[in-house]
Amino acid sequence: MRAPLSTSLRTRLTLWYLTVLALLLLIYATFVFAFQYAVLTRQIFHDEVQDAVTVEGLLYFDSHGVLQLQQDYYSRPQSHLLIDRLMEIRDLSGKTLYRSPTLGGMPLGGPLKNGEGDDGFNERIIRLADGSHALIISHIHTMQGRTMVIRLGYSLAPLRTRMLQFLLLLLIAIPGALIVAGAAGQMIARRGLRPLKEMTARAEGINANNLHDRLRVRNTNDELGQLASVFNHLLQRLEHAFQQMKRFTADAAHELRTPLASIRTVSEVALERAQEPEQYRDALAGILEEAARLNETINGLLLLARAEATEPGDEQTVFSAKELVDEVLSVLGVLIEEKHIAILQDDESIAARTTRGDRALLRIAFMNVLHNALKFSPPDSVLRISYSRSADKVRIAFHDQGPGIAPEEKQRVFDRFYTSSSQATVSGSGAGLGLSIAKLIIDRIGGTIGFEDSMQGARCVIELPLSG
């Protein structure tokens, strides 16, 4: 049985519950009915056996040699055993010696069977000529040298009538019970799901303008409470992402507007009145530089979008972190030589371990991190690159001897378009995106990047997942 999907959860729960209950009640009723029937039938059989023994003692042949039943024996003549008793006695040739008046002349069962009543009582159900059924037993009895078969039974009609009444009672009681249970189920489900209804109403009211709204958690331990908590966490992350996006959009607009403004001003000033060719050339070159800055910012934004769109598992290759660092160092080689910076690498054996991820993106991440470290390294200083490993990560630390990063800026340096007040030396275009691009790329492959405390200089630590 499958409830249509359009029905409410409450109705569906109740329906399921009712179906199970109905099935259980039916099984229970069938069992009780069968048990009751068996017990009562057994009771009749016992009565019959007892009765047969009694009857044996009451039989006699009268002076004419006709079998008679002594009728005045019973202390309780009204006993139904006496009134309703069906009895027939035949001799072994099959001739009927006695037939109780209750039979109204009908034979009690068919012809004698071979050995009938010899052993035990051969209880069985037979159909009488008038169509009613009787449970009868047979018993061999020898009296005054004559052997006879006593057949004794009771009609099953009263039993069946009673069983029918019982069945009717059950059939009336079950639907009644189901109706009551269904109503109770509906009510309980409604009470149980009431918080859900509230949550729905509240969640419907949450939009971009009130993302700070949260669902009310009634009980943190029950399922609905957990649902509300999970939902609240989701909202929190959404709100955070949304705030970040808002800030990012504002920052990006600012970052794009700055070069646009200078392009505009430089052009307007150049066109204001006739100037020397050299001045025009100067203006145009300035405009070109600003255009390059715009382009680089846009490329940075696209790179961020690309990194953001990658899922862990996309375009993964396995490579050694050390090899990637060396490749980047070689690209940046002239910068290192020019500033006479010594690169010291420790524990390179660890670095030979492989990591996995989008190599092209990670290369950009390392390029940005190393370029940043070199930019702030004073001439003739040392840039120490050390490798270590934890359980399932390889750690790469870049430790420069530059001015370092103030503790309160350790997080913010990864913000998009963030330019530190103390790092006022930011040179030219694309500034403010390098580290955030690196962070996003590394986060996306399941790594981490951050600045650690150090006595001198900045210590940037990158952790990458080992490739297993």
Partner: protein, 233 residues
Amino acid sequence: MSLARSRILIIEDDRKMSDALVSGIEAAGYDVRAASTAEEGFFLVHSHQPDLLLLDLTLPHRNGLEVLQQIRSEDTDVRVLILTSHNAVEDRVEGLRSGADDYLGKPFSFPELMARIDALLRRFLPPQMVSPLVVGDLALDTKTRSASRGGERLELTAREFDLLLYLVENRGRTVSREMLAKDIWHETSRFTPIDNVIDVQIARLRRKIDDPFAIKLLQTVRGIGFSLREPHS
């Protein structure tokens, strides 16, 4: 320019871009026409029979790729260079698969466009006399990978030699940072660290080839890039 006046057709709907390209390419000695719609472009492809088509992909009413496919289905003998702001790798692949000979993402540097145009037109012409790699008294020998100036041997690193060779091959014209990033450093695009590397590398090269000499050959063209030329030529 030793080439016969090659004919170039530009299909580009942005008027400013189109005008700038026409005047810049004309100044380089080519016969240039411009169309702003696909229909006009088709007409000119047939009437003007250009050797090279510069095709913008985002045209009004019609996608540039459709134009390209139709030209290719007609079996017109024309080289096609796609100019577009759709710079994703997939766009590039699709453009080349549709029958383009080259692909240049907007915004591009004009010197790079000229270098591509020259390369595309040269690719189909009989090989010319290889002119000696000489600028003024600076001479390069690609066999021994050595350079000399005024007969004096210059000690260059491999990277410096490659850079100098590239500048000499493009002597007389400006080489942009994008071109250097792509052709010498083999980076897919230009970005801050690589810009710094290029600037430092150029400064070091200049120290070796120009600083000891009175005549300076390696010029910085502000806003564009670098140029190797004799000052008076």
